[in-house]
Amino acid sequence: MHKVRNEADPVPGLDPWAGGKKALCAVAVVALTLVGGDHALAAAPKEVVDAANKEGELRLYWTSTATDTWLKRFQDAFNEHFGTRITVKDTRGADWARDTTKVVAESLAGQKPVWDLMLTTEAHHNDLLQAGLLGRYEWAKLFDVPSQAVMFNGGAYAFAHQVALPAYNTDLVKGADIPKKWEDIFNPKFNEKIGASTATHHWARLSQFWGDERTTQFVKRLAAMKPRLGTLADLNQRLHIGEILLIATQIDNFMRVSKIRKAPAKWAEDLDPVLLQSITVGPLKGSPNPNAALLFAGFLATKKGQDLFQEFQWQSSIFVKGSPYWKFVQGKDVVLLKEDFMAKELQRRTDKYGAMLGYR
């Protein structure tokens, strides 16, 4: 398996099945071959800017933790960067899957998408792709997006990543009990005091790296510990309170909250591989403000956009050299969903591991 080494070539080992082959992001290859594709919006940034300015408005779907202040900061930075005067109206969504479905259902009913741009994950954008709601854009050419980040034939790109790892209560779990590798969460001390969340896709992601067999065994052992089930938010409260000692996987959004509030919660950072989820963005086909959407998506790839998002969500792209997450994953294996895995296996395995834990 390949480690991400702190050297000139930052391409991480994304292809565990390929064994010892030199890792190269297949996504990137696809994206590169698409440059100049017939459906691409072959417009120079200048034209995009003018068209976007004409639209004057952007309807953005993004995280539920956003506030009016953050919206304004993004809007101002965005307008300042491109010299535009675009009003950003946002919806702060908590249930990305359901809202994605809504957009798909609306488009099937002949309704234009209510949002121009959705900041969700690769899995959600995959659903949009299957519904034919993603276009094709030359992200690398237009906005200098790292080519490995471009996904779905240019339909969207990952501007940041979300990390998921086991998290423990620092007051109650100490020293040798802190997990150093994934199997350490089976410590009998954690029996009935470990949380396993509804985000069962984490196990499916892990299985892309480990293979189905090993992951199945892993989840079986986890289920045998009689874990406390619940949503990530719910389990996070229980972790803070100390009702559970450990959450089998917790995402960075909640770790950030824990850190800001000085709650006794920490990731087991030594674990390998690190589960990554791509935070993706791509204009919705048929939306009223396609150019503003494209421009804003591009803005997120800029230095300013990256910094702002880091400040906002504490999430950054592992493809951007020097970014916090680029640093975090150095020397570690990472799991990033591949598109064919997403299309064929993700759903099935998510359901399977979920069912093993009790989720139906």
């Binding site: 933790t65 479905t101 309704q111 938010a233 719910d234 409260q237 803070h240 309170i241």
Partner: protein, 596 residues
């Protein structure tokens, strides 16, 4: 006779025969115009989404994507080996919940409406305020107090008696039923109050002068006489216990106890992939069948409505019975209930809101108390959710009550042939899982956006709540209307008033107190409802409940706690005022004909 004449003769005969039939139909329709009108309105409002849900369960994929009808969802849903266990759990959970609810509700309702229990106004307000604490916030309270690991009770037991094993846990079926049952007390309290208040006090007095004690009178007279209303509440709460998701998620999941509603929730709320509405629909159908069976049973209970017409023409003035020395046990009972349902959740809420992050009760935590969460509030919410919420809580209960009164009136009062069907229809929204109902409604609103452009606005939430709470409203109104003697209405008719005018001038004023209470209660339900509002949400129609929900799921529990405390602080004075207002409205009607 020419061929043409013969032809026209035959046509004429056919026409006459046809006209005979048409006339009968016309007669039927004009005679029962209100019945058909009500059935039509309710049929469209309820039937369309219900059918959409049914179709959803017969298709794979998401609403709107065509494809052949298939039983695949049913196959996948019901061949899962876990289903039998889940059904058993659901059954036990629902029955347990209703028992717990009634255990608390019946004494409370009696004390509140028929006795001179002191501090009624405060109790009323506490009931409302307790109800306003969102369930997932109460969950923190339950964890802090009842958790086997860190709960206050068990920690105390450990330090006081040196008990090693936790003595008390809510992570089991009885615990789930207890918590859920407790949370349904305010709703059932409001449903039953109306019926208890409307009862002819002479029925009770006759028992006292026969020498029966208070408890015995409650058991032998009040409860049996109010049986239609109690049955209505039981059926309603049973269905609610089957469909509510919060407690099964917060108390059930940690204990790995699954019920129907948690299966449905998980099916339609995946973290990746598209929601499996079809599977949800397949489980949902079971709930609908159950709901219809219950509605049918209920209708049999109230069929002999005449038997229960106990509010007579005599000016009635419900007497409050002096409790005497029973006052203290009664107050103690109320105190226990309020502690469990109001004080503990609110204390936990306050505790959480004053800390940087959720933590167990401890002296060490006291040093960390902070107001930072309160300062965050203006930053987290703008003005729009307040405007939307105001529109919602004013409009939804009003529309729902108008419809409910009309439906109940037809069902209970009119000799309408299909009143059973109408009553079943009005109950149906309660039996359809709300998530699916909202999905179906959203889809329909999308399809018919040219005719009714409400998609994405707050008005679609208003519509969803109007329909969903029709079940609550019509059940409450049924219970009350049954008890109003038909002669009161008939006397209005013989004075030359039309049916509608009698409804407006006589029936509704007689029920004024109950109508006000139900209105208020639907307003509160609407205020708190999050499932449907979330599904129907667009950029323009965020309401407070969805806002709180999304903040909570972003892990901002302390901020949500602070917001919760602020909202309670806002609502309690309003509820206090509303109570006074409603009391005087109710008094204005029922107290008008005092007989000394």
């Amino acid at each position: 006779m020419s061929a043409r004449e013969a032809l026209s003769g035959a046509t004429l005969r056919r026409a006459i025969a046809g006209a005979g039939f048409t006339r009968r139909v016309t007669q039927e329709i004009t005679r029962h115009g209100f019945g058909y009108a009500a059935s039509g309105v309710v049929g469209i409002l309820v039937g369309a989404p219900a059918i959409a849900v049914l179709l959803m369960s017969l298709r794979v994929g998401i609403p709107g994507r065509g494809g052949p009808l298939t039983f695949e969802n049913y196959y996948r849903a019901y061949t899962d080996p876990i289903v039998l266990q889940v059904l058993l759990n659901t059954f036990l959970f629902a029955i347990g919940t209703v028992l717990v609810t009634l255990l608390f509700t019946l004494p409370l309702v009696w004390l509140f409406n028929r006795s001179d229990l002191p501090g009624k106004r405060a109790i009323f307000v506490f009931l409302i305020a307790g109800f306003l604490v969102p369930v997932f916030l109460r969950a923190i309270g339950w964890i802090l107090i009842f958790s086997p690991e860190v709960g206050l009770l068990n920690t105390l037991a450990r330090s006081l008696f040196g008990v090693e094993r936790p003595i008390f846990s809510i992570y089991n079926l009885p615990g789930m039923a207890f918590v859920q049952g407790l949370s349904l007390v305010p709703a059932s309290f409001f449903m039953l109050s109306a019926a208890f208040r409307a009862m002819d006090p002479a029925l009770e007095e006759a028992s006292y002068v026969s020498g029966a004690s208070r408890l015995r009178t409650i058991r032998r007279i009040n409860i049996p006489v109010s049986w239609p209303a109690i049955a209505a509440v039981m059926v309603y709460m049973l269905m609610l216990a089957v469909s509510l998701f919060e407690v099964p998620a917060i108390v059930g999941w940690p204990a790995r106890i699954f019920v129907l509603s948690s299966l449905i929730y998980f099916a339609v709320t995946p973290n990746v992939g598209l929601p499996k509405y079809g599977i949800g629909g397949a489980y949902g159908l079971l709930m609908m069948v159950l709901g219809l069976v219950l509605a049918f049973l209920y209708f049999r209970v109230i069929r002999e409505t005449k038997r229960y017409a106990v509010v007579t023409g005599r000016g009635y003035r419900p007497k409050m019975l002096p409790l005497g020395r029973w006052r203290y046990p009664a107050l103690a009972f109320v105190a226990v209930y309020l502690t469990l349902d109001f004080v503990l959740p609110l204390a936990a809420l306050l505790w959480v809101s004053l800390l940087p992050h959720a933590q167990a009760f401890s002296a060490a935590a006291l040093s960390k108390l902070t107001l930072v969460n309160y300062r965050q509030i203006p930053e987290l919410i703008g003005l729009r959710p307040f405007v939307n919420t105001t529109i919602l809580v004013l409009l939804a209960p009003t529309l729902s009550m108008i419809l409910s009164i009309f439906v109940s009136w037809v069902v209970v009062r009119q000799r309408f042939r299909f009143r059973g069907v109408l009553d079943g229809l009005a109950f149906l929204p309660h039996a359809v899982p709300h998530i699916l109902f909202a999905v179906a409604l959203a889809y329909l609103a999308l399809l018919f956006r040219e005719v009714l452009p409400i998609y994405g606005s707050v008005f679609i939430i208003v519509l969803a709540h109007t329909i969903a709470y029709l079940a609550y409203g019509s059940r409450t109104m049924n219970g009350v209307m049954i008890q109003i003697h038909h002669e009161l209405e008939e006397s209005g008719r013989v004075c030359g008033s039309s049916k509608l005018r009698v409804l407006w001038r006589i029936v509704i004023p007689l029920m004024a107190g109950a109508v006000c209470n139900a209105w208020l209660w639907i307003g509160l339900l609407s205020y708190r409802e999050v499932t449907m509002a979330l599904v129907l949400r667009g950029p323009e129609n965020v309401v407070l409940s969805t806002l709180i929900w999304q903040l909570w799921f972003a892990g901002l529990a302390p901020e949500v706690g602070a917001l919760g405390v602020v909202l309670i602080a806002v609502v309690v004075p309003i509820a206090w005022g509303a109570r006074g207002l409603f009391a005087s409205i109710a008094h204005g009607y029922s107290g008008g004909t005092d007989e000394r």
